[in-house]
Amino acid sequence: MTFEITLSDEVLALSARRSYIELNARARALQLLDDGTFHELLGPFDRVESPWLPMQGIVTQSDDGCVVAKGKIDGQPAVVIAMEGKFQGGSIGEVCGMKMAEAFRLARLDNEKGIPTRAVLSLESGGVRLQEANMGELVIAEIYAEMVALRKHTPLIVVITGPTGCFGGMSLAAGLASYVVMTRQARLSMNGPEVIELEAGKDEFVAADKPFVWSVNGGAQRFATDFADVLLEDDADAVTQAVTELFRKGQPAQLRTDKYELFIKRLKFLDPAKQWVAEDIRNAWKAVAK
């Protein structure tokens, strides 16, 4: 007996969709840049690796978990910096952090020279690399400074799709971006769930309770509370399209970092004596819209 199998539109769409989350850092840079324009700077064959990891018995990676590629987006010069979440949890060490800071600096110099160069930062990061934390923290400061300098010339877009998400120092980098693009699977927060649970206890935060964790720092909540500007399905082409459209739109009317008074007002609206849930935060944000 044979049956006619009819798959739903959702399943067909799922089957046709190419995942961005599944792409490694290099493939993400390729995906974001116009076809045939990808040109990697300090690629794996330049073998600029972490000098600190071997001292601690850890195998290095030839790109130190950070891919920097020049090329074009929508026909315009662009640089894409993509972090590899699978190498040391996407942690920021001296080399990968410096590659990032330097790429922003070169992009700024190009802009100052009259070559309008755009920048996209695709993040998968657990924060600073503990094995080289001092260097990492220093270089993260340089990254912030370069991001602030660069965004005077061009929109700076951060893409966070998961699976690792974006934590620690890089969560502040996301805050500096002109636009943040997220998927539902992505998470964005300063402290990771396990750290909060460890420091504040299970009454405050249960790291194993995934629906709870995502309700706090997942893409949907971040989008609803003004920390992300675009919320996407996990679709590689949709990410490229969103990035292209944001560049066409140009710089937002007000950068997120310039809205600090609004965020402070919203925080003041919440009673710190009470245990908040995701819904409370959404409501507070809605209540204080301006």
Binding site: I5, L14, S15, S19, E22, K210, P211, D234
Partner: protein, 552 residues
Amino acid sequence: MDVATSEVAGARSWSTRREGKQRRMALVSPWMNGKFLPQKKIVEALETLLVPGDRVVIESVQKQADFLSRSLAKVNPKKIHDLKAVIWAIARPDHMEIFEQGIASEVDFSFAGPQSLRLAQMLEDGQIKVNSINTYVELSARMFVDLIPNAVLVCADMADREGNLYTGANTEDTPSMVEAAAFRDGIVIVQVNQIVDKLPRVDIPGGWIDVIVEGDRPYAKEPIQTRDPKDIKELQILTAMMVIRGVYERHQVTSLNHGVGFDTAAIELLLPTYGGKLGLKGKICRNWILNPQPTLIPAIESGWVESVHSFGNEDGMEKYVAARPDIYFTGPDGSLRSNRVFCQLAGHYAVDLFAGSTLQIDAEGNSSTVTKGRIAGFGGAPNLGSDARGRRHPSAAWLSLITSDDAIVRGRKLCVQVVETFKAGGVPLFVETLDAVQVGKDAKLPIAPVMIYGDDVSHVATEEGIAYLYKADGMEERRAAVAAIAGVTKVGLKSTAKQVKALREKGVVAYPEDLGVRRSDANRSLLSARSMKDLVTWSGGLYEPPARFRSW
């Protein structure tokens, strides 16, 4: 002569068990309302119904009679001690407390996943006596021979006013446990989640039940076979591609069972995509022995699967199963009917292939999940993963393993071990000697706790390739075949290029290129679902993953 016989007959009562049961039941009857015991009386009732030395079955595999086991741990050890426990899976801390307090002193069990370390320590300290490690179905069988219970502590979803039970999707072993006690004057004690006027269906008749008590919370249960596709790695995808081509397609495997793990979940998720491209739909993987694993949803939705019979339930699959009665075994009420004994029997005699993972394989292909310091047991794998020498019905796959031209030959079940050469943390899976050998000695077990014996394993598949062990001539060639696919483990490094070449030419070993599998094709985009959310989409929103698998 006549006088002598009549004297003996007169002296002996032939119904001591029945009288004993009646006596014990009479002691608790003042507390009972029919078959129903008030919740707060349970500890006292257990102290009254049991006597030291009783053999007691405590239900615990996927679903656990945890209210009863927690209550048993509270009885006075001065009153009740030295029970002989029979536990399918020692899964709970309260199981261990029962032994620590001396309420029970001996155990016959099958699996001890989370408690395996503590069990080994208690054994060393002499707090527990392990009579035997069994397979699940061995315990079921032995309940009718040498492990006949005086009492069984089981659980059910619902009871009606007459005491009939609804065990629904999580039926598992309850009917067989109840049967072993009810028909030999053992006492059947059931914890239920709910007492209702009308059951969705009757799974166990009320006449077999003695005591029903409402649990303080719904019984504990574990979705032990559910795997999140997001954690499937590319090496596992490569191996899965080879297994589909080099085993399922080559041997025309239509009926099968998959073990627990990501290695086999990868195969399930590749059927609609990779399997579809190879034109294998309808030719392989039609009839399954498997829990309602969510990773099979894409294959079902794409029309690969004709039937699935299940050992137990997987949480969250209830609505999907109810909407697919052509595929699953369900009652007229729509809910799954699982039954471990029948499913194990089917896995042993009716399916052509078992594919599953393990924690260690030695140079000869023996495998075990018992590793240093842990007495983990095996569950159902030894039965599912062994040839059924009592089988007589032929099938293309079963016949395809015949390697001799003799007039009298038998076919063979395919037992496929699907593993990575190294486990997480760089621990080699292939070892010279199984840890089980030392663990067995330390625990003074009469034999080493081997899960699947090498001579039952027909194929071993790793990311390096497939060893067709059933084709190997003699132990030396078997060892060489295992080494050829054991990668850079110590076992694998013994392999030489010359040996490998000869084995590949003879077809005893196949590497990806021998099977037409391109290594570079093995990536996660080949999976029909890459996340729990994708599985929900495939199910049309019917699958409702438990919280720990959800990020939304």
